[in-house]
Symmetry: C3
Subunit: 266 residues, 3 copies
């Protein structure tokens, strides 16, 4: 698998033209920031979590993003119902197992979702990806206790087991799909000081999956766009506060030229 | 009905002097950004949604804003209880039927609220306003699938039926009240790329309704202030990220002079 | 008690080096902004509220922050369970009684938490602190109806009664501990126009308490850092929108030199 500047630019243009509806069942912390990132990219976010309406909302969506960052039983039930509707409708599901490994409730929920309603893409940090297969993985809350490199082997195993494209974010982002592993080397260290940029990456995976039928390519495109917008934003920022806004501005203004200049993918 | 520069400036000064408490039962996505907009304007926002306390919280409020953007059964029950308390206390109720038409749960909830506890102001985009009366209206998640112009006729009908001032936001904002229709032509296209600015408009309707006994005039004032702050903010912004902050700064700094220069109302 | 530039700088360095996990059960309005403030300071925030996991999450945390800003029965139950786990593990608990006095549900919940699971630090505005002891205290929603000075006497009483360091924020911040009262005179009036900066102060109390065994000193350090970052941020801001980001940038960049120049503590 390979993602070229042209591929990425075509995907961005498709999102801007179609404005695909991305249905998010996500955590309270990032609802605002991920909705803003989806809008800045050109997608049309919708947030809905009530069991009374998630299936119907999936009906107007082109992708479903499930993020377990602040889960509770009613929300988990809605996640399952929405995911079943998404599978029936054959729209892509993206799962963010936030904090898997930090509590058994999160690990268990992530595993059950993967088993019952297999997602097209799973995006997490190294600790989270490892925790899904390995009960003994260490974690530090919602931040990773391991580098992304150390999770590639287990990411491959997880891909083999569940079929999803596995995206492990870190200094280097790895995307493991049917045709192998892609590395994305974009991004900036200051991004780790803005809450929820991992969740934003997951939401953008949803937008790209809505226009690209290859889940691994969609995930790689999302990670590249995240990293490039982060680099452009960080260069103009004095800290994580200003990075938040410059990141969104960069997403909004992203040009073929920016991609050509910044893209580091292999 | 007419809203002059003087009317609008008087209303803003009244909000800044009285700092009216605006009680919001709103969606998770916009709680932070609408609270910040209310504070920047000079009002005092409070968020409370527990059935255990909403009636008491209404007791210290000067307006109640109900927004169904991320509804669920317990929240809907609290909305009804708060609205009944607001009617008993005779403070204005503003309703934002976010996503009406997107799911039947939202359409039904909006209709039931309007019937059982008629609001003074209903603010929505064209799709949402149409969906309240017309089961066949098209929508696209929480974004409108129609222009505001196309919803004016149905907005008049809705006004006749329920008595509320109907505010339809879009490129031109329409406010339909007892004495006719007001058009507000302020605003900037970049505002559609910031999540929840429609919800912010609704929250500001609450602040203006707290100091202005004429609901239609209050809604027109809120839309004008939104649009003017949006234009001032957008002129200084490179994208929707920076627009968020420049919009709040503009709201905070808004002067009689700004209003005089920017107001486009008829 | 006294907090010197050196003490404060050592505490900040300890937070940046250890990145303590601060577990927050907080309100919907501020989850994003408080997580960002903790990250900017150097701590590692985690938000979790499900009864199914709060005890386990406390197990990986170095401090627990409880904020009743948008409470409801299931959340209150989780607060008690988390606080009991925190006491068993002997990590500090910080309580923010948001809106105590505004509704009896909030006042009652704050009192019960203080009685059943005594926190190390209670931080609130004057109205909230007074409402905990005095059923007749006036409040205005979540904003204070009284100056911090007027609450010092009742703050001392509350300290005597429950043993917690009592932090009363306002134009002057007061921290009442075993060895007396500390006054912090940093801060900027524009901070009152940004939602949730009081909640952010509480969250930072958690970060400082995670590295400083003296709760009153930790609270004074948090208030000083809030105020200094607020002053630096406000000097660069044209309104509360830009203050949000400059505040975070200032937290992130805070140097020994800044502290030396700005600290006003006695």
């Amino acid at each position: 698998m390979n993602v070229t500047t042209n591929d990425l630019w075509s995907a961005i243009r498709a999102i801007r033209e179609k404005a695909p509806v991305v249905h998010n069942i996500t955590n309270y912390v990032v609802m605002n920031s991920t909705a803003n990132a989806l809008l800045a990219l050109g997608a049309s976010p919708v947030m809905a979590h009530a069991e009374e309406e998630v299936e119907e909302m999936v009906g107007i969506a082109s992708a479903l993003v499930i993020n377990i960052g602040t889960l509770s039983p009613t929300w988990v039930r809605a996640m399952f119902r929405a995911a079943e509707a998404a599978r029936a409708k054959k729209i892509p599901i993206v799962l963010d197992p936030v904090g898997a490994g930090a509590t058994s409730y999160r690990t268990k929920t992530a595993r059950e979702l993967i088993r019952a309603v297999p997602p097209e893409i799973i995006r997490g940090n190294a600790s989270e990806i490892m925790a899904i297969l390995d009960a003994g993985a260490r974690t530090k809350g919602v931040d990773s206790a391991a580098s992304s490199d150390s999770a590639v082997a287990i990411g491959r195993e997880l891909h083999t087991e569940c079929g999803a494209a596995i995206c492990i974010s870190g200094e280097t982002d790895y995307v493991i799909g049917k045709t192998g592993v892609v590395k994305v080397r974009n991004g900036h260290i200051m991004m780790t000081r803005v809450t929820g940029l991992g969740c934003t990456a997951t939401a953008l995976c949803g937008a790209f999956a809505a226009v690209n039928p290859d889940p691994a390519a969609a995930a790689a495109e999302a990670m590249a766009v995240m990293g490039i917008a982060g680099e452009i934003g960080a260069a103009r920022s004095e800290g994580p506060g200003s990075l938040q806004l410059h990141f969104l501005d960069a997403l909004y203004r992203l040009s073929a030229d920016d991609i050509d200049r910044y893209l580091k993918i292999e």
